[in-house]
Amino acid sequence: MLSYGFMQNAFLVSIFIAVLAPSIGIFLVLRRYSMIGDTLSHASLAGITISLACNQNPVLGAFVFTSISGALIEFLRGYFKKNTDLILSIVLALSVGTAITIISSGRLHTNADAFLFGSVLTVTVSDTVLVMILSVISVLALIALYHQLVYIAYDEEAARIAGVRVRLLNYIFSVLVASAVSVTIRIVGVLVISSMIALPVAAALQLEKGFKTTLVFSVVFSVVDIMLGLVLSYYLGVAPGGFTALVSVAVLIVVILAKKCVRIKATSKV
């Protein structure tokens, strides 16, 4: 399997996805913003279709459009303070509307299905390089802003009092989410990106540990999910995106059951 060049690219990209997606996802989940990840993944489809129509790199197009959508969500938060759920509907309408209009216009020079469901065949060398650059920059940004992001997630008011520029950090975080989404689309596909962002974190949260331990386990579960998803989907001849999402759900269920078993054992000893 690894003798194929496209599979080597796919595995390399998958490792970067496995690190970046849950590292951003943990902040989204803990801020109860999982649906923003979902909205931005749909927004990336508009970026993909625009860039395909203009013969540009779709990963780059997804990153730019998703960053703009993330910033738009942050901007609209000031206008819809009492109906924040409306913001996601507005951004979804704008991005999905753009994508469908372009796809239905027949101006795309390629099939967009690979981006909806994920595909190992379409990962080019230039995509791989772009994914690596975006991932490294994003992880470095996360390390630099780690304490601010932890505190905004834990206690935004205390962060403001301590002098954190919360609004600016939220805009930067939107770009980081956009980066995670655009890195993930090639392999996982637009429709199930949120599974890579949220499910490994959901599994790690079951362990009830501190923040750093939860983050490390999120990445570990993410690596397990995406590697199993990639290998099994290859042999089963199905799209890697959907199958990786199924593996993520299966791993989460296994972790929940294991936790229940440990609790039952502990109480039976008492």
Binding site: L30, Y146, H147, Q148, V150, Y151, A153, Y154, D155, E157, A158, A159, R160, I161, A162, G163, V164, L205, E208, K209, G210, F211, K212, T213, T214
Partner: protein, 224 residues
């Protein structure tokens, strides 16, 4: 320490005002309890002191270099958040740009929770969680400590411990305390001054005056 002049505030920028012409001057080293009915503007006043809100008109200033803040206890906001006491305090230390890591242990020692640094925040009792918030507020040696209903959702024994810590900080370290209080007995028993807010207007009085005028509760905390 804090001076407010003709302070007006409303979220819309127009009448009706939550605070309507507040004048207030608090000196260093005072322990002031801010009391009043729900909606009287107590929490708005401390949010203005903390610069989380901007006055609609008038001004409010503080000379404190660093302000420590203890928020109202909220189980729902932080439940399930995977963070240990040490991680939470260490991140806050980074926000305050304090290089000395010992401030974490020092602040936990001051509230008697040295053994809890490895505990998850979500597993602490109401009293312990409130003490950790006081420990956080103490990092960086603030000159002013602002508390929002420190005894809400806390058992009686822990309430006594919390007020004992606050009084000690006020008496021994000379720290200025501003505490929003629903607990009138605690306000009368512990503070040196009481600021009574009533529908956006306030006046300052001693605990004895407040007890006699408004509540019928004596200085010993017993109802008369």
């Amino acid at each position: 320490m804090i001076k407010a002049e003709n302070l007006y505030f409303s979220y819309t920028g127009a009448a009706p005002y939550i605070l309507g012409g507040v004048n207030l001057e608090l000196k260093d080293g005072e322990y002031v309890s801010v009391v009043g009915d729900n909606g009287s503007g107590k929490s708005t006043l401390i949010r203005l002191i903390l610069k989380l809100l901007k006055p609609t008109s008038g001004r409010i200033e503080t000379t404190a270099g660093r302000i420590g803040y203890v928020p109202q206890r909220s189980d729902a906001a932080h439940s399930g958040f995977p963070i240990t006491v040490r991680e939470m305090l260490d991140s806050y230390r980074h926000l305050l740009k304090l290089k000395n890591r010992d401030v974490i242990d020092d602040s936990l020692r001051q509230v008697g929770l040295s053994d809890y640094s490895g505990a998850l925040m979500g597993t602490l009792s109401g009293g312990q969680s409130q003490k950790v918030m006081i420990a956080r507020a103490l990092m960086g040696d603030p000159e002013l400590l602002v508390l929002d209903e420190p005894s809400t959702g806390v058992d009686v024994h822990s309430q006594k411990e919390i007020y004992s810590i606050i009084k000690k900080l006020n008496k021994e370290k000379g720290m200025t305390i501003v505490s929003v209080e629903h607990n009138l007995v605690a306000a009368i028993s512990n503070s040196t001054l009481i600021y009574h807010l009533d529908v956006g207007h306030g006046h300052i009085c001693t605990p004895a005056q407040f007890a006699a005028e408004f509540t019928g509760i004596g200085l010993d905390g017993r109802e008369e």
